[in-house]
Amino acid sequence: MASKPRTLYEKIWDAHVVERRDDGTCILYIDRHLVHEVTSPQAFEALRLAGRKVRRPDLTLAVPDHNLPTTPRTDAAGNRLPIKDPQSAAQLAALEANAPAFGIDYIDATAPEQGIVHVVGPEQGFSLPGATIVCGDSHTAAHGGIGALAFGIGTSEVEHVLATQTLQLRPSKSMEVRVEGELGPGVTPKDLILHIIGVIGTAGGTGHVIEYRGPVFERMSVEGRLTVCNMSIEGGARAGLIAPDETVFSYLEGRPYAPRGEAWDRAVAWWKMLHSDPDAVFDKTVVIDAAVVEPTVSWGTSPEDVVPVGGTVPAPESFADPSKQSAARKSLDYMDLEPGQRIEDIAIENVFIGSCTNSRIEDLRAAADVLKGRTKASNVRWAIVVPGSGLVKRQAEAEGLDQVFTAAGFEWREPGCSACLAMNPDKVPPGERCASTSNRNFVGRQGPGARTHLVSPAMAAAAAVTGRLADVRTLAPCQAVDA
C-alpha cells in the first residue's frame, strides 16, 4: 500500500498510537510529562486513594512555578524563606512531598534551574522534537516550537498519564497557518501570533492542531517559535507546532536531559524526517501576509481583540456578529475605553515583562535594548521583570541586563508565572492598566478589576518609558550606555 502523504502532526500522532479503537479513539503514548504545584495535588491524592503508582517516573519532571512569590526565596545566609500565604505554601509542600514519594525528578523552588515549566522543559532538553509532551497547563502548546506535539491537560488527565503514561484521545483535525513574506523591522513573533489570533478568532483553531509554516518560521529563533506556539491555545487550538530543523537541533545539543553521542545522532536522523509531506492535506488553511503585521496590542478582554498600535479602539457596531457586538461593549466598559480612541493615547500604570510566552533571554534582551539609557515614565507606578527561569536570570545578569532594567525603574524578580495569572502576590490593582507580555487579557486575569493590554517585550518597554501604549519603532534611538 502506498503510504498516504501525512502532516507533521499525523506523523507524530501515528508514532505514539498504542491502540486504536473502532470509534477512532486512540490510546496515545506520552513521552514527557511536566508537573507543577497547582494542577497536580488532586491527581497524586487520587493515585494514593486508588493504590496506584506512577508508571514511568523517569518520563516525568516536576517544578513549581504558578504560585511562588517572585521575591527572594532565601535569606542572606542561604536559608529558605517561608511562603506567607498558607494555601500556596501547602500546594508547594504537596508537590515537594509527592515528587519523591512517587520517584519523580524534582527541581526545587530555590534551584538555579527552577522556572516556568514551559521555559524549563526546552531549556533542560527534557522537551524534544517529535515527542508527545503534556502538562496540566494549557500553555504546554509552547513546546510545539521545538517540533513536539505538546498540549495542556486537566487534572484527571494528569492522573491518567501518571498512572498509565497514556491518554485516551481522538485525533484532532489539522490546520495550516501559512505565513508568507517577511516581518517588517521592529515586528516580533509576539506581534505575529497576536495578529494571527485576531484573524482566526479565539475559537478558530478549536478541534485542530495548528502547524505554522512559511519562511518567517524557518528564520525564527527557538525562543520566537516557543512564543508563537505558546499562544496556539488562545486561538482555540490545543496544540501548535513548527517542523524542527537545524536551529532547534543546535539549541538542544548538550542540554542537561538531551540525548548524547550515538543516541543524539539517531535522534537527529529521526527528527529530520519530521515535516509535513509536500502533498499532505490540511483540514483548514489560513494564509497570513507577514508584511501587514504591525506591532500589535490588545484592546479588549479576549486575545482576539487586537489592533495595530497605530490604530484606534474599534466600535462595537463594527462587528458583524451581534454576540460579538455585545461582548465588545462589555469589554470596552471593563477596559474603560471609548470607540475611536487612539491606542497610543492609552496611558498605563503598570508594566509586566514575563510569563511562559515572553520571559526567555531573547525577550529580556529585546526589552533591555529599548530601555537602555532610559527610565520609566512618572505615571508608571509598577514595572517588573520576571525571568522565565533561574538560568535565564543568571544569563541576563551576566549580560548586565538586570542593571539596565533596575536603572530604568523596573524590579528584577525571581522566576515564576507571577502577574500573568496573579496567583502569587504579583497583581495589577483594580482599575489600573498593565502593558503585559503575557498571553491572556481576560477579565480579572492579572487581578480583580485589572485591565490588561497584551504586547511584545519591546512594546512593553516602550510603554514603560512613554507611560502609554506606544509604537516602539517611533522611539528615538537611545544613547548607548555601557551596561
Binding site: S138, H160, R238, Y257, P259, V443
Partner: protein
Amino acid sequence: MDKVSTIEGRAIPLGLKNVDTDVIIPAHWLKTVSREGLGKGAFETIREAPGNPFDVEDFAGAPILIAGDNFGCGSSREHAAWALLDLGIAAVIAPSFSDIFSGNAFKNGILTVELAQDQVDRLLEIAADHPIAIDLENQIVTTPFQDRFAFEVDPFRKHCLLEGLDEIGLTLERGAAIETHEQQRARALPWLDAPQRRDAA
C-alpha cells in the same frame, strides 16, 4: 464515577459567548489541594452584578447551564469543572466548547451538549420560566413545548457516562498493549527512555 442518564430541571440562561475558565473560576481559587468547595468562587465576577442569573431564586440548584459559543476557553484548570459540579451543574448546553474544557467536564461526569445557535437561543428563551430535559441515552433535549433537539455525543464518552466507568481503570486493562508499545519504542526511539540529567555541555 456516578452514572449519568437523564438530566431534568431548571437551566441557568447565561447565554454569554467565550466564557473563559478565568470567569468560571478565577485563579485565586486554585490554591487548593482538594476538588471540593469551589462553587463559592464559581462565576465570581458575573455574580458581583445584582440580578445576575446565578442568584435568581428560581435557578437555585438548577442542574443545567446554557451558554454561548466557545464555552470554557482559556486555561486547562479542571477547577472549572469542579466549580460547576459544586454549584450542582450536571450539564452545559452551548453551540461549542473548548477542547480541554469538554474533556475535563466529561471526566467529572458533566455532560456537554452542543446545539446550533438558534436552538440554544430557543432554550435560553424557554429557560427563563420553564424546565428542560436532556436524555443522554436517546441524545435529545426536550422542553415542555414539544421542542426536540437531537445532539451528537462521542460514543465512548456516552458509554462511560451511562455506565459510570473509570477511564483510568479501562486504560490499565490495556496494560499489555502499553508494554508492547514501550518495547517497540525502546528499540525505535531509544533516546526517549529514561532521560538522565547531566551537567550542560
